[in-house]
């Protein structure tokens, strides 16, 4: 590696490390996020020649991050078991019960947050992934498609189905709780 290459790539690593870590974490890498991201940056360098002009670096990198996260769970047996592991690692972060989450900066009322996370548990893993990329990570539709290696149409249809399911689940839990105060608080602030 030449000196100039090194400096330029180090800058790319610095610039994209935060979003790469967030992505790995929310896609289920949990405490292995840093290892996953390290692996992804090394592989991204090796495959940089496959990088197309006009393509954005970020979603391309995040796709490698997503793949590395999946590789992490490859040993976890059958698909259902793997998906279970992924969600078990992610759920505590979303609930704010894990160490690395930030209750002080929480923007959502605790009860509402719990309802949302419980509804997310009802989604299929495939639906959760598009919801995670598109909304939790706030990527746009095209980036989401690149990261998850899906056609844009699939992203769109999965999102709309996921939102419908989430809406129904929330309505159900809202009925039983008789309390939507948390929702009003959040939507007022965003």
């Amino acid at each position: 590696m030449r000196r100039g290459d090194r400096e330029a790539y180090a800058e790319l690593v610095r610039r994209h490390a935060p979003i790469a870590l967030r992505t790995a974490t929310l896609l289920g890498a949990g405490s292995d996020a840093e290892d996953v991201v390290q692996e992804a940056f090394v592989k991204a360098y090796g495959a940089l020649s496959a990088f197309r002009r006009g393509a954005a670096f970020r979603p391309w990198l995040l796709r490698i991050v997503g793949n590395e996260t999946r590789n992490l769970h490859r040993g976890a047996g059958r698909r259902r078991a793997r998906e279970q592991v992924v969600w078990e690692r992610t759920e505590p972060l979303l609930l704010g019960t894990a160490e690395s989450s930030d209750p002080a900066g929480a923007l959502l009322a605790t009860e509402r947050r719990r309802e949302l996370v419980v509804s997310m548990a009802k989604l299929s893993e495939a639906q959760r992934q598009v919801v995670t990329c598109r909304f939790l990570l706030d990527l746009d539709e095209r980036e989401t498609a690149t990261v998850l290696n899906l056609p844009r149409g699939t992203v769109k249809s999965r999102l709309s189905r996921a939102l419908r399911t989430l809406g129904q689940e929330l309505e159900r839990s809202g009925d039983s709780m008789g309390d939507r105060a948390g929702a009003a608080e959040v939507s007022g602030g965003s």
């Binding site: 967030r22 020649s49 793949n67 939507s187």
Partner: protein, 260 residues
């Protein structure tokens, strides 16, 4: 679900995502990545398949592999040099030429094509060949060149023809496996093939600068270039510039052969 409710839900999901404290990347991440890369051997763009397909890179699998390999062959990229700190999305490199997006708007009035700078020095081809570390090539279509020169750092050999049916034509060549030699800022570039070899065609006038061996730009060398074809033959990068059509440029390229 009503649109309002859906908007609320989306806003809540975004809040949920933001409320998860981002893991703070330690300096050791960068250090770890960079030290692992430093151990890896330097890849050369001339490799037939520059991609290292490693364990775990499953996204390269199957039908994508062929596409990726093709793109890889076209964009045999190493990395950008320090003065070219553009985001990766703004550049790529091809056989020792860095191409950047030119963000300036296209001129509204059509301008006359930039003049082709011809070579005024006249070394003999043998003299030039002795100065550079690669075998020069010439297009038989254009006959013997009228000017021959070698850059002071002996990296680039340039020849030109000032008269002939194609008008002024210039051809530069250098060892594209060793270094970047040119930087181009263009709005549009076409990926083409000449007899199965990847090539780039610049139809529009674009800025071209010569790079120093350490990758810094020689600002004073920046100039506007017209129609340009870039291709690679046997590790040598060839750059042909003139007021010809793409078809004619390709024809000249096909007639190009090593002098010996």
């Amino acid at each position: 679900m009503a649109a309002d409710t859906e908007h609320e839900l989306i806003a809540e999901l975004r809040s949920l995502g933001r409320s998860v404290a981002p893991p703070v990347p330690g300096d050791d991440l960068e250090v770890a990545v960079m030290s692992r890369l430093a151990e890896a051997p330097v890849r050369r763009p001339s490799a037939a398949v520059p991609l290292r397909i490693e364990r775990g890179t499953r996204w390269l699998a199957g039908r994508r592999r062929r596409t990726v390999a093709l793109v890889a062959a076209i964009l045999a990229a190493l990395l950008v040099t320090p003065p070219v700190r553009a985001a990766v999305s703004d550049w790529f490199s091809f056989a020792g030429v860095i191409v950047r997006d030119d963000p300036s708007p296209a001129p509204t009035v059509s301008q006359p094509p930039p003049a082709v700078p011809t070579v005024t020095t006249s070394l003999t081809l043998q003299q030039a060949e002795a100065l550079v570390a690669f075998p020069p090539s010439l297009p038989s279509d254009l006959g013997p060149p009228q000017g021959v020169e070698v850059s002071t750092d002996r990296r680039v050999l340039s020849v030109s023809w000032s008269s002939g049916r194609d008008g002024p034509v210039r051809m530069d060549q250098f060892d594209g496996r060793l270094d970047y030699a040119y930087m181009k800022a263009a709005r549009q570039v076409e990926f083409i093939e000449i007899d199965g070899t990847p090539a780039l065609w610049f139809e529009q006038p674009h800025e071209v600068s010569i790079l120093n061996a350490d990758g810094t730009t020689r600002r004073e060398t920046a100039r506007l270039a017209g129609h340009t074809l870039i291709w690679e033959a046997g590790g040598t990068t060839l750059r042909l510039e003139g007021e010809f059509s793409r078809a004619r440029a390709e024809e000249i390229a096909r007639s190009t052969e090593p002098v010996r």
